[in-house]
Symmetry: C2
């Protein structure tokens, strides 16, 4: 049903594809300027203060209720909110008066609503859109979180939403403005993406209260954000405005049904006539606000969370406001109020032709008070954050295999599969109350359920290698390998493991399978035996998996899989072998492989040093676990407790969990491990695979005990001999890195009021510290909060369990129940690399890439047909190390969407920070590329039709040249940090 | 502005007047059946259970917010409610789908809304009304209270609302059904009035829980109410139905924005699809409900308080409900759901042609639980209740003088006056949270303010005798004579007093004027001196008037004023007289005049006996004040406290305030008084005027002290030697009397759970007890709660001050602040008459009539023009004692509305309970009646066009004859308790 509608919509309304000179379809908008967009803006008064009233609703794609509960208006006892009614009501009110405007933001909701409308309503709405009366802003599937999202998933969710708008409304459905009014801090990479998606401007509501005060003082509320150090301006320049009242109306002017402000009472026959007082108050507020901004245009956001369910209340009163305030003009008033939209406001700013300041850092962390740092959510719900990240990986695999498998992949022998379900679930999960961890528990469960449903649909589709290659046996997946659960491998003496690698180069990957045998033979397709070892399942793992699995051992081996392809391994038990040795209850002095040596303190069981054997670098390194005692709100300075959003330790000194670890060690031909037990609820495996350049720290935390009535925020801390001088580096949405300085903000004179929480930053993929010689980079498997509070020290928050709500609306303490309501156990991995600073990116870029797009393992039992192909690569050849294949997905019947990314920053690698040239024609092994057309990053506009506003900046005019052009339409050059998006017309070779 | 619109509407849309054979305009509806009303009812299924969904809103004309706050949706922090939006929204939703229906009830709100609409909206709404899609039910200005309203004011407010509907919409605007879903008990007189207003049926929501249980058990939820003992059936027969769920939807089916029931989620693509469960539940509920009723039609009220502000929520879900439930018919379901209205439901019942039970008593008192008797509001806010009653009197005066004064009365030399403002204020004040006393304090203040504004407008108009008779000096009114405040009389040596008498016969009335002189001469127009006396202002009165006035004395004299006319008295101070004697500090053994003797106990100061000197009847009579200790909710049986609605003493024994009174006595040629002081906050004057047949008890209560943290409900109790045998009699809305028996209900086997509160009944004008020889009748000046808990005893609750809210929504304890927030002081009068039972009505009917329509006093200073007329009567002659001139008001330019009432019941008077014949042509002294046409009671239908449903009753078919007809159209006969309503075409003689 979903599928069908989606396809119909795409076929019927997709307007981009026409035929270019080279015979390939490229986009072309209808001739003439559309009546929507900037051409539909209401007239303003050049000699007056123009007050742009922007009627809007902010519809969280899940928060206190699930996205579908919000859509329907179910469970209004939790929160009164029903998006179906909002759209019903707004459309009705817009139709009633052509001067009225409305903006809509979240396509996840609009999509649900649209497909329930009859054709008369769809036609009426299309007219509203075409006339600019209903304008889409932002337009992604959701309004993504900026701290905890990965750029890959953000681009996908924006593409999903914007494509629906494009398919449904054509050019008039394309948003001109990015609109992140609620996210709790703003990432530079988001701004960079928005710029590359063609947005003319960006507005948001939340920023540090000190920052805002400074900007109001300096009339610096609007600026140009230069959002990349690598891309040539203005490629990543984004005009950015801070809204005056968050995203609310000015005090006293909220006329939603959820508000209690007085309506305009203009009937002199009734009591309480208040027009004169309202008009006076409004004009005062407008003039006050104009003092904070630079032009004779100001914006007022007339709406808030889930408002406009009964739009009549808003419009009826705003109609009166406009009429009565503007009537004062005949008495000499210089205030002109009008219905408007963010893009029309932006146009007013643009026409002012001023020179704007340039912002180059980001808006993290966000504090709305001296003791109210929103740095807890960087870590909140770590299991959901990991599941979301894993789901992104699966979605890419799913997309790729849909392309490689062709139409057969969707309707294969195992049923109908689709990538659409997971795509939408991932779109929902990017919401700023989803992966952020700031939703209610039942809503977090719903996000997970949606992802799981998406997995199930993808699992059918990713059976495609089978159907592609004539392999008929059903394929099985094991989603709980991290706790050694996999019924297939536990119960079979013989099975096939297929490893699909979504990267554009060969990958090496350690596989750990729960088994009950004592020895196995693992064979490659060519018959070669892969070295494998059987180790007992650790006690910690046995405990946390509970009765979900019964394997006594783990079979461990390294696999390699070809680029964009798979390799199948045959695993057979070797009968009657003695059981593996149990781990040795002692701490080794050291572990080492070809590349690394780590040493331990045999008394404490803790790490003591890390050495890079290739470069002979050595640092002292100790690592341990601590917890911050979460404020319960009963403190002298503030009654703010720690909660889902806010991190507020009640002391700057974290409490150590144990000075010593109980240790066990294992060493075999595949891996060496030191298993450290710090407490019944904190353990770690320090792990070094043969052939690996990184040290793995696999942490297991939980159930966090709270019987002592103390909320706990658990960190891992690495203390090194690196002289980091108060500086550390964190990624922005998994891409470019920003330097952070302790107790410092680049754009204002920080008064630090929270020495720990005020120095926390989000990390999505990595953090590092360095000095001249050494750089220690930590690559993570999910988004987390992290900091460096002492020179040489790095800390990463892993898990949080709290007893109080932090009074930002979610109205629940963050205390995830886990199994049997004992509290959630979370397991994750940190990968450590020690390098010289100049070489670091060459290690951490591919490392993070492989952790984000990890191989998909699937299993089959039984015998294979003799002709079965056991290995496949979708590429003619691996791509160069600098190139990341970000997106490969089916667009429509004959075309696929391809994104290629240069994954290095401009100066970070001697070898890889160079332009790279790729031939699109020679890319795929099984597909012939017969047409190519470049698009903007969000794939809703042809590249050559992008025509963004240009802004004068205080740094002077920027060159527009991107350097030399591409060698040809088929052979393209990627420069550092560039992502290029292509629509390819393909046919099977 | 109001005037203009009103007049325009009346002129444009008034359709009743055409010319009859005698050359006089009478009404005639347009030819052919209208498409509205019963002809517009949706089809039902004869072989199925038809579920009539009745979308409705219940819009209190003031309660927690003022009527205008409700209209606008102001102060939504108190309660979310905005009627302007409700009507906006409903109209929009009705226009969207012709199958949808809505009913609207309160014309006070509809009128406000209508005049703010543009002509396009008015036209669209008219179409909805003409097609029966928007149906008015009830249609009065408000939904009146039934316990504390006087029939005179109820008829007026119904006439006001229904006339607006008639004028605006013609025949399709005329409601067919009376609809009192919320009032807290139901008066028989209301049913009688509704019958006489032409309603076909009546529905309500609240009745005693035991009564309801019995009716459900016996399938007796619907009946014929025979609402008069005097009127010949079916004149006062009213089909009456008890609604199944109060006025709410069945549990789980409330889809208003104020509800949290799950919406119908019918998109299989989204989570939580619930259509099957909803349909199953609904069909079960419908079948269960059908078990309580007798036909294959049932009604469901789909709405509640101030619902439908966002009607889309309701209709969208009901549309789905109807679609999905009726879809089950193809699977064999026998449930047919439809949008309907009360009249369409009623039509279904009527077509069933069953025989219905007959109800002859009323629905008081109302209890919603064993300890939850809604008998407190009979007395709540006694000052407001009195002000409302006084305002009714003024309004009648205002109406009469508008007729008698002609057009000049509206625009006289003192400005523009109107009766309309007071008419509307009185219309609002009849609401079941207005005069009932169950509103918040600020709303009570607003009702009083509206009445005061109405007074001010009327005061201009009632200066008409002046303008009529060429009298130019400004006229002044004194509204605080009851506390001896009147600046004019306090500060003048000489002034004129004009007494206007609204009754249709001469009145005698005691006048008490605050003065500062010691002796005065009072002269009638003919120069005769009227006996007058000066008495000191009592200490009690001085205390409660505070600094509002400074008179030291009161000038007391009896005046007489002609029927429907005035008489002017000249009052001149006689210089240099000694001050009047102070009252004597002792109790006299007795007081007596020509007609009565009362005796006192000299030790206690209390009454001991009352003797009728004409009939030689004597009863023992003691009287004292007590208070019930109001339950604070912390009791064993129930946690119900006393509050604005509910009376719940925590003991059945009231606490005596004092066994002895401190007394003072006065005796002079005009009056004898014993002033009794019981406590600092309770006092009384026992007063006997010369020539009076009634004993006056003027009580003063307050500020009620609550420093002891005990809420108090103050009663006066009369204990007599009358052998009343558990029986007492109370009036219904000031008209017919009902017998009450202690601990008994006529229609079910009462389980009495509150021995005091469960025996309280409302009295509006009188209560009496009797035995074979003696009847003691107490006529009151306002509505109160009363009972007889012991034989020979009568108790009347006077005032209440409470500390707790009684949890019925008002959310305030009833504790009126009074001056300086010390607690309200209230003063009132009881008039006692001792007669033989057979003669009682001859005394109490005119007594109550004169207390309801009391003379209006006005004052002028300066000299009169020598030709000034000092006396006037609007009637050619007084009307017979049985006839009450209920209404005389200007209808339009050439016609006036006249209501004549037979004010005796069929058997209560030997002389007066006889038919009376009146000549309309010979009625007025200054107006010639040139046309007459009779109307229904509410003046919205010609009498000869009334065609009510007839119902078969269990008492058999009733004769339709009303006895002999009128002698001629101009000479009409009134039978006991008949009210006849005429539109008279008049011109000045």
């Amino acid at each position: 049903m979903v599928e069908a509608l989606w396809t119909v919509a795409a076929t019927a309304a997709f307007v981009l594809l026409t035929v270019d000179v080279a015979g390939f379809p490229v986009g072309q908008l209808p001739h003439g300027e559309p009546s929507c967009g900037y051409n539909s803006c209401p007239a303003t008064q050049p000699s007056m203060l123009n007050v742009h009233l922007v009627p809007h609703t902010h519809d969280d794609v899940g928060w206190l209720k699930t996205v579908d509960q919000y859509y329907y208006g179910d469970h209004n006892d939790i929160q009164h909110a029903g998006v179906q009614y909002i759209l019903d009501s707004v459309v009705e009110q817009l139709l009633a008066d052509p001067s009225r405007r409305f903006i809509y933001v979240e396509t996840a909701f609009f999509f649900r609503w649209w497909r329930q409308q009859n054709s008369a309503t769809q036609k009426a709405v299309t007219k509203l859109v075409n006339e600019g009366r209903l304008e889409f802003v932002n337009g992604g599937w959701c309004m993504s979180d900026e701290a905890t999202t990965h750029y890959s998933a953000v681009i996908d969710q924006m593409t999903l939403g914007l494509r629906f708008l494009n398919d449904t409304f054509g050019a008039c459905g394309r948003p001109r403005v990015a609109w992140h009014i609620d996210p709790f801090g703003h990432a530079r990479e988001h701004a960079s993406m928005f710029a590359q998606m063609g947005y003319d401007g960006f507005f948001f509501g939340r920023l540090d209260y000190q920052d805002k005060a400074r900007r109001i003082r300096d009339k610096d509320m609007e600026m140009v954000w230069r959002a990349s150090e690598s891309l040539t301006p203005p490629a990543a320049d984004l005009f950015t405005g801070v809204l005056p009242n968050g995203y609310n109306p000015p005090p006293g002017f909220c006329w939603d049904q959820s508000c209690n402000d007085p309506p305009i009472r203009d009937d002199p026959n009734l009591d309480d006539y208040n027009v004169d007082a309202i008009v006076k108050n409004f004009i005062e507020i407008a003039n006050d606000q104009a003092q904070m901004y630079r032009t004779n245009h100001i914006i007022m956001t007339m709406g808030s969370d889930f408002q406009y369910e009964n739009a009549n209340l808003w419009y009826k009163n705003m109609d009166k406001l406009i009429r009565y305030v503007n009537a004062q003009q005949s008495q000499g008033s210089k205030v002109n109020v009008l219905y408007s939209t963010p893009s029309c406001y932006l146009q007013g700013l643009h026409q002012a032709n001023l020179t704007w300041s340039v912002k180059t850092d980001d808006f993290f962390p966000y504090a709305d008070g001296p003791h109210d740092f929103w740095t807890g959510y960087f870590t909140s719900r770590p299991a959901l954050k990991r599941y979301e990240r894993l789901s992104n990986s699966l979605l890419q695999v799913c997309n790729q295999l849909e392309v490689l498998g062709g139409p057969k992949s969707r309707k294969g022998p195992y049923g109908e599969g689709d990538s659409d379900t997971l795509q939408k679930a991932m779109g929902v999960a990017q919401h700023h109350d989803a992966v952020s961890g700031t939703e209610k528990q039942h809503v977090a469960n719903d996000y997970a359920k949606r992802l799981a449903r998406g997995w199930a649909h993808c699992e059918v589709l990713v059976s495609c290698p089978s159907c592609l290659l004539g392999w008929e046996a059903p394929r099985q997946y094991c989603l709980s390998l991290n706790i050694s659960v996999c019924p297939t491998t536990e119960n079979s003496n013989k099975f096939f493991l297929t490893v699909y690698n979504p990267l554009s180069r060969m990958v090496s990957w350690p596989v750990r399978l729960p088994v009950n045998g004592s020895a196995y033979v693992v064979r490659q397709p060519n018959g070669q035996v892969v070295d494998s070892q059987v180790m007992p399942v650790s006690e910690v793992t046995q405990k946390i998996r509970g009765d979900k699995g019964y394997a006594i051992n783990e079979l461990v081996f390294l696999v390699q899989a070809p680029s964009l392809g798979f390799r199948t391994f045959q695993v057979s038990q070797v009968s009657k072998q003695p059981p593996p040795l149990p781990p040795q209850p002692k701490t080794p002095l050291s572990m080492e492989n070809q590349f690394l040596r780590v040493t331990f303190d045999p008394d404490t069981g803790l790490l003591t040093s890390l050495t890079n054997l290739e470069t002979k670098q050595k640092i002292q390194l100790t690592q341990n676990f601590y917890w911050y005692n979460a404020s319960d709100g009963n403190s002298v300075d503030s009654n703010q407790p720690s909660g889902a959003y806010i991190f507020r330790p009640n002391s700057s000194s974290p409490i150590i969990i144990s000075r010593k670890a109980k240790t066990y060690s294992v060493k075999n031909s595949v891996v060496q491990e030191v298993q450290q037990q710090f407490s019944p609820w904190v353990s770690q495996v320090v792990r070094l695979y043969w052939g690996s350049r990184q040290l793995e720290l696999e942490w297991t935390v939980g159930p966090v005990p709270v019987g002592d009535n103390l909320g706990k925020e658990i960190i891992t801390r690495l203390d090194t001999s690196i002289n980091s001088s108060g500086s550390f580096y964190t990624d922005s949405n998994g891409r470019e890195l920003l330097e952070r300085l302790k107790d410092f903000r680049p754009t204002w004179d920080l008064k630090q009021t929270e020495p720990v929480a005020g120095n926390y930053y989000p990390i999505n993929s990595r953090i590092y510290i360095k000095d001249k010689e050494n750089q220690l980079t930590v690559v993570t498997d999910r988004s987390q909060g992290a900091s460096s509070l002492q020179d040489g020290s790095l800390e990463i928050m892993l898990h949080r369990r709290l007893l109080y709500d932090d009074v930002r609306g979610v109205a629940e303490p963050l205390s995830e129940p886990g199994d049997n309501n004992e509290g959630l156990v979370v397991r994750g991995r940190l990968l450590l690399a020690l390098t010289a600073p100049k070489d670091a990116a060459d290690i951490h870029r591919p490392l993070a890439e492989a952790l984000v797009l990890q191989p998909l393992l699937s299993f089959q039992m039984g015998e294979l047909h003799p002709n079965t192909a056991l290995e496949f690569s979708g590429l003619q050849a691996s791509l160069p190390p600098a190139v990341h294949l970000l997106t490969l997905s089916q667009w429509d019947q004959d075309s696929v969407l391809l994104r290629l990314e240069h994954q290095f920053q401009v100066t970070e690698s001697l070898t890889n920070s160079q332009p790279v040239t790729i031939s699109l024609q020679k890319l795929f092994s099984t597909l012939e590329v017969v047409g190519v057309s470049e698009m903007n990053l969000s794939a809703n506009q042809w590249k050559d039709e992008i025509n963004r506003f240009s802004w004068k900046t205080s740094t002077g005019e920027q060159p527009l040249s991107h350097g030399a052009g591409d060698p040809s339409p088929w052979v393209i050059t990627l420069r550092p940090m560039e992502i290029r998006t292509f629509l390819l017309q393909v046919r099977p070779r």
